[in-house]
């Protein structure tokens, strides 16, 4: 299993580069991953999405797709792409420390 260095700690990641253990995650780690993904600062809107992703993953065993995010999180598609350019579900999952959602194959 591969590991990456985040804030001076070696943290396990999967083949997609997402965190393996939910417990390795915290807000500082999230901010650090966000920076490497080209998002310098996480706003309240970012957190709303990230927390929704984590909640869904814990409840359902899989993160939501963009479509589900739009429907359930209260953040529109347009805004999602502005917050997390290119792939909102994929990026928010990485920052939120959960595996890449299976729906975004």
């Amino acid at each position: 299993m591969a590991t990456i260095d985040l804030l001076g700690k070696q943290i396990e990641v999967d083949a997609d580069g997402n965190l393996v253990n939910l417990d390795d995650w915290n807000e500082d780690i999230a901010k650090e991953i966000a920076r490497t993904e080209g998002i310098p600062e996480l706003t309240d809107r970012h957190w709303l999405v990230i927390n929704f992703m984590r909640k869904e993953f814990i409840e359902k065993g899989d993160g939501p797709t963009v479509r589900r995010l739009t429907k359930e999180s209260g953040v529109g598609t347009k805004e999602l792409y502005a917050l997390f350019p290119k792939g909102p579900a994929k990026k928010a999952a990485r920052i939120g420390g959960i595996p890449k959602p299976k729906g975004c194959v």
Partner: protein, 414 residues
């Protein structure tokens, strides 16, 4: 009398009807199937229509030709299922009751989900090839087209037959080469994925083919809207791709009757156990094929592999036994690569498409993840297999579960 009700008489519904008709005692069981369209479409054939390889008559047959005698056939639109009462309501008000229900209502395109897609240019220079109308209109358009920017765009995933858009690009390259106008057509493949295909290994091979065939590729493009005036597709993050002819694979959704029944997810796909194929919410409801929310590919070959599992599990349940059959996500798809050749991929939930031969080691006759003429014949033979074996629920001479026989495991990766 006990009642088995099947909703949808496409690939999956027809297979299940034939299997249960043979297995269940007609003195004890009444089997009913419901659909609202008399014609069975061989959907894999739609791919070949725009290029004049297949005509309409190659891909249509009456649905009733594939139904056994002594079953109730109802040709009417399904309004909704009320699972708590074991009832189904049809549009004209008919009420049906069931002991066991199989849902096989498939998936369909929903171009209205994307702003501007079904606007002024629809079937003028924007086409789909996932319906008979789209494929036929595109064939007429291509016959007269003088060239320009041809954009092939997948709006969002999941879609049925995820290899079809790639095959379309390869066939377009061949078609315009044969017409001696390839230099006048710029082919551009635009996908929301980060690579050419959903499966990593196969994506690398496909990316090489795209480059080799001079097909431009844009990845990470999630289509937000279509600008009809300036003939552009625009992504949610404001990237733009201009087109003269747009071949779109619109959003795919389950039928609206699933939404009306409150049984689907945000795309009307039904939450289904990925191994047993039982509905996650109701014990006496099973789901097959494109209507499920499974992470397997939405393809006819997958429906076939599922049909065996579904059959065994329902039989077990009826006989009060434990359901033992498990679906492993097995998919087996030919990928047309143009110029009379094709590739074949074979994979499941856990294993990526690998190189090797299929179904037998070395002998094949089909080669996995490699381009051969034999694979192309396999693809064309699929039409015969589909009409003559698959729909009738007959056994195919290949294993239901994916096997590693004949596959080469990449040593570096292990």
């Amino acid at each position: 009398m006990k009642k088995l009700l099947i909703l949808g008489a496409g690939t999956g519904g027809t297979m299940m009807l034939n299997k249960f008709h043979k297995a269940l005692d007609p003195m004890e069981w009444e089997i009913t199937i419901v659909d609202h369209i008399e014609t069975h479409f061989y959907q894999p054939g739609f791919l070949f229509i725009p290029f004049g390889i297949y005509k309409e008559e190659d891909v249509i047959r009456p649905k009733r030709d594939f139904f056994p005698k002594n079953v109730n056939v109802i040709m009417e639109e399904i309004d909704k299922i009320v699972p708590k009462e074991n009832k189904v309501y049809l549009k004209e008000g008919t009420e049906l009751i069931y002991d066991y229900l199989i849902i096989a209502t498939g998936s369909e395109i929903a171009p209205e989900e994307t702003e501007g897609l079904k606007g002024d240019l629809w079937y003028n220079c924007i086409f789909d090839f996932y319906t008979i109308e789209g494929a036929m209109n595109l064939a007429w358009f291509f016959e007269k087209w003088e060239g320009g920017k041809l954009v092939i765009n997948i709006t969002e995933f999941p879609i049925k037959c995820p290899v079809a858009p790639l095959e379309f690009a390869f066939l377009a390259d061949w078609y315009f080469t044969e017409k001696k106008m390839r230099d006048k057509v710029e082919i551009h493949f635009v996908t929301p994925l980060s690579s050419a295909f959903t499966k990593e290994k196969c994506a690398e091979v496909m990316a090489d083919y795209l480059t080799e065939k001079n097909i431009k590729t844009t990845v990470d493009f999630s289509t937000g809207r279509v600008d009809n005036e300036n003939k552009k597709i625009i992504s949610w993050d404001e990237m733009e791709v201009p087109f003269d002819c747009l071949v779109t694979v619109p959003t795919n959704k389950g039928n609206s009757c699933i939404e009306r029944s409150g049984m689907g997810d945000e795309l009307n796909f039904i939450p289904t156990d990925k191994y047993t194929l039982q509905s996650k919410d109701y014990e006496n409801i099973f789901v097959i094929g494109d209507a499920t929310d499974l992470p397997s590919s939405k393809a006819g070959s997958v429906v076939h592999f599922q049909s065996e599992v579904l059959f065994e599990n329902i039989m077990s349940l009826i006989n009060g036994k434990e359901m033992k059959a498990k679906f492993d996500g097995h998919a087996n798809c030919f990928i047309e690569s143009g110029f009379g050749k094709a590739l074949l991929i074979d994979f499941n939930y856990e294993t990526e498409p690998l190189k090797g031969s299929y179904p037998l080691p070395v002998i094949g006759p089909f080669k996995l993840l490699q381009e051969t003429r034999m694979n192309h014949f396999g693809k064309l033979l699929f039409k015969w297999t589909y009409w003559n074996l698959l729909l009738k629920g007959r056994e195919l001479p290949v294993s239901n579960e994916m096997t590693m026989t004949g596959k080469q495991i990449d040593e570096e990766k292990e």
